[in-house]
Amino acid sequence: MSTIHVRTTVNGEPTEFLCEPAETLLDALRNRLGLTGTKEGCGTGDCGSCSVLLEGRLVPSCLVLAAEAIDREVLTVEGVAVGDALHPVQQAFLEQAALQCGICTPGLVVAAKSLLDRNTNPTEQEVRFWLAGNLCRCTGYDKIVRAVMDAAEVMRNETSEVRA
């Protein structure tokens, strides 16, 4: 089996690792790079726990081969907060109690961030459909949706402050 040398960028850092041809990006992040924030709930694309951004696009890392990351940019939950500043989505999750067990939270944080990167004024229905691939079994989604709407508002206010 030919091991593959992957040069990539993870959370803004140039990163290198070796992987097997059939190894998923999820496994490489967790087992090769120690980035265990990205979770595996199913391994088959059905739960969203493994969500990461690949070239800015929301993808299930369980259905991406690690080798596909060559020369690409990956963002995981570990890279969402900048320094000690939580992303508004993370802050809103804490304030709204939008997590119970928290296993779905990393995937939801990444997914919600990717929505708000595109649209800081989503409707409740837009939030719900964007997040439909992120299963949460504990919360019934109510507080998650509220947290994302709150984070959107914070982000809208931030941009208007910058403009003002």
Binding site: K39, S49, N134
Partner: protein, 752 residues
């Protein structure tokens, strides 16, 4: 009395202490742990639902490069040991046999061998080389098949416990028959003006926690074992693993990881004994992680059920008689929650004459585990559907009918004891008064209401509260935090000591670092472990008062505690009050570390009642339905952290909605599970749902110093009937079989 007490911290909504780690991905869950030199385990599972294991040849697997150990049922001792779990006992023999089959594979996915190798891929490939010769037997997939004359018998030595019927066959799949009776059933029904009788079924469903089971075990040559695992009860993992393997519990240290959901499903051990034995053989740590497929096929879903329910009522709505027969699938080994179902089935109502029987029946499906209010949802689906129909036939408001018959303090529960203060009536009144109940409905919409009941557990808990010299505190318990219990425990310490929640650090300790704790389950953590925490905090507080007395050189009786300070009483009134910080700073000089201890064996927690209102919209041409509005109302005793109480209510409601609408185990005739993945198991996704409104009713529980009641389980009880009753309203058809999936709904509509 606690209801009168005003709180400073209880009832507020601070940010949870473990929150930051969880929103940044730093928190470590079951699969996130590694040890140097660790091997990876893989389980070979039976492709047959029912088969005798004739032989297992592991030689090819053992010869595979990278394979370090292979085990089969022979490596797990057969045992008759039991583990006491409060009032219930866990049979360890079946648990061990379930973890790794000895003689028979009893369901598709039953573990028959396991391999440890240097990588997960090698372990998997090697496992596929194990040759198992099976004698395939006829599978028994439903309670009807299990009870049919001449049915295949799963366990030759099974005898019916409890009160078997006189003419029951000796050779049987019935593990238990129990009975609850009161009054004169015949006379009761004879006095009724209206009798409604129907038979209901619910499918086998899974808890659906998002984190698969996972653990790492290391067996030392000196017999000391370390297990890192995701569990609802690490003391149970310790005692069960030790009991199954015949080793001393004290030699096993279990460290709980963060847990990604359990809902009852992470109480039994599956992987842990295998990982320990593999590690013993391989002399290296072994990690085992279930795939989602494994979780569906081989962990512990809850029973599929059949319930026959008959209730008689007077014209004025008084319920006079009820009879019910509950048939619950246990899965491969005895232990369904049929008994609990029988105790719950009419618990909200005072019905003078009843006879309830319940059957625990083994079938070739995975052994069921607890699932949130185990036994109650299916039972109350039957009751609450029949009550709805009675209301409809009598032309009564369904809430009024329930109010007329609602149990209250002093009434005898059908399972025996008299109720203390319970909030059913208040919950029903609040439901009736809620704007949702009167809001207009749109076309093709229907509204349903239903009640739920759950006992709530007490059991054993230990806690310690330690002060630091700067006046901050740590609180240590032994219950994995599944939904915000750490912050609730810190809040209790704050309430007792008067220090801010941020200055209290709550920790979940491993089995070596805290006294015994029963599991996180039974809605008991905030209640029972909370009591231990309060006791420990009060112990610390008493010690602080004693230190103040020492500093002031007065008798301890001259010191009282008020809002976070020791205050002087008569005889010491010239002294300035001392804060926690001031006292803690002098800890060393005044007698050394201050550590408060609390250990409790809490009584049953005081039952919880809830109602749900559901609006559903049905596409009558396709049978597809959507929940369009939902409200959950519940007596929560005292909400320690209201956000997490609401979260329990919302999450439970949505699990119940999933159960009602789409979730089910689908088996083919040979007993193969056809939908062992999230895509086809169909749990609710965000876009399926509206917001879930909540109303918290607080009827203080006198058993707890703050009035806390368990809140985590009863939320899943009402939705099944609330959804079905809404569907009846929308379509005019009464549905007795769940799930209300589009094909089933359309079929009923075109037949109607």
């Amino acid at each position: 009395m606690s209801a009168e007490r005003t709180f400073e911290y209880i009832g507020t909504r601070p940010i949870r202490h473990d929150g930051l780690d969880k929103v940044t991905g730093r928190a470590n869950y079951g699969a996130d742990f590694t040890l140097p030199g660790m091997l990876h385990g893989h389980v070979l599972r039976s492709p047959h639902a029912h088969a005798r294991i004739v032989s297992i040849d592991t030689s090819a697997a053992e010869a595979t490069p990278g394979v370090k150990a292979v085990i089969t049922g022979k490596d797990i001792p057969k045992t008759n040991a039991k583990l006491s779990l409060g009032e219930a006992a866990m049979e360890l023999g079946p648990m061990g046999d379930n973890a790794l089959a000895h003689d028979k594979a009893l369901y598709e996915g039953h573990a028959v061998a396991a391999v440890a190798a240097t990588s997960p891929e090698i372990a998997r490939e090697a496992a596929e080389k194990i040759v198992v010769v099976y004698e395939v037997l006829k599978p028994v997939m439903t309670v009807d098949q299990a009870l049919a004359p001449g049915a295949t018998i799963l366990h030759d030595d099974l005898v019916t416990k409890g009160k078997p019927l006189a003419d029951a066959p000796k050779h049987t799949n019935v593990a238990l028959r129990m009975e609850l009776k009161r009054g004169d059933l015949e006379a009761g029904f004879a006095a009724a003006d209206l009798i409604v009788e129907r038979t209901f079924t619910t499918p086998m469903v899974h808890q659906g926690y998002i984190e698969p089971h996972a653990c790492v075990a290391r067996y030392g040559e000196d017999g000391q074992v370390l297990v890192w695992t995701t569990t609802q009860g690490h003391f149970i993992v310790r005692d069960a693993s030790a009991g199954i393997l015949g080793i001393d519990a004290a030699k096993v240290k279990v460290v709980p990881s963060e847990i990604g959901g359990g809902f009852g499903g992470k109480i039994p051990v599956y992987l842990e004994p295998l990982a320990i034995v593999l590690s013993r053989k391989a002399h290296r740590p072994v990690k085992m992680v279930m795939s989602r497929d494994d979780v569906f096929r081989a962990s512990g879903p809850t029973s599929g059920t059949k319930v026959r329910m008959k209730i008689g009522a007077k014209k004025d709505g008084t319920l006079v008689a009820a009879s019910a027969s509950l048939y619950y699938e246990a899965g491969a080994y005895p232990g369904s929650p049929a008994g609990a179902g029988a105790m719950c089935v009419i618990a909200p109502y005072t019905i003078p004459n009843f006879m309830i029987e319940a059957y625990d029946i083994v079938v070739n499906r995975p052994k069921v585990a607890a699932y949130r209010a185990p036994g109650s949802p299916a039972a109350m689906f039957a009751t609450e559907s029949v009550i709805d129909e009675i209301a409809q036939k009598l032309g009564m408001d369904p809430i009024d009918l329930r109010l007329k018959n609602a149990a209250q303090e002093g009434d005898s529960a059908p399972y025996g004891p008299k109720y203390g203060p319970i909030g059913l009536k208040q919950v029903l009144e609040a439901t009736k008064a809620h704007p949702h109940w009167k809001a207009p409905l749109g076309p093709n919409q229907g509204r349903g209401v239903a009640c739920g009941f759950w006992f709530n557990a007490g059991l054993n808990s230990t806690a310690t509260v330690s002060l630091s010299a700067d006046g901050s505190a740590t609180v240590v318990t032994g219950n994995p935090d599944i939904g915000g219990t750490r912050v609730a425990q810190a809040m209790m310490v704050s309430e007792e000591l008067g220090i801010p929640v941020e200055r209290v650090r709550p920790t979940v300790a491993d089995t070596d670092s805290i006294g015994y704790n029963d599991l996180t389950g039974g809605s008991r953590v905030c209640y029972a472990t909370g009591m231990a925490v309060i006791k420990a905090a009060q112990d610390a507080r008493d010690q602080l008062c004693a230190r103040a007395a020492k500093i002031w050189d007065v008798d301890p009786s001259c010191v009282a505690w008020e809002r976070g300070r020791a205050i002087p009483l008569n005889g010491a009134s010239d002294k300035e009050p001392l804060t926690v910080s001031a006292l803690a700073a002098k800890m060393t000089a005044t007698g050394g570390p201050i550590v408060g201890r609390g250990a409790v064996s809490a009584p049953m927690a005081g039952p919880g009642f809830a109602t749900n209102i559901c609006d559903i919209e049905v596409d009558k041409e396709t049978g597809v339905s959507r929940v369009v509005r939902y409200t959950a109302i519940q007596d929560v005793g005292k909400a320690v952290h209201p956000s997490y109480v609401e979260g329990q209510m919302q999450g439970g409601a949505v699990q119940g909605i999933g159960w009602a609408l789409n979730e089910e185990y689908i088996y083919d005739e040979a007993g193969h599970l056809e939908n062992a993945g999230f895509l086809d198991y169909r749990m609710p996704v965000a876009s399926d749902l509206p917001m879930i409104d909540t109303v918290l009713i607080e009827v203080a529980n006198p058993l707890h110093p703050y009035g806390v009641r368990g809140v985590g389980e009863v939320p899943i009880v009402p939705p099944l009937a609330a959804v079905a009753n809404a569907m009846a309203g929308a379509t005019g058809v009464r549905f007795t079989d769940l799930p209300l999936s589009p094909p089933r709904v359309l079929k009923a509509l075109s037949g109607a």
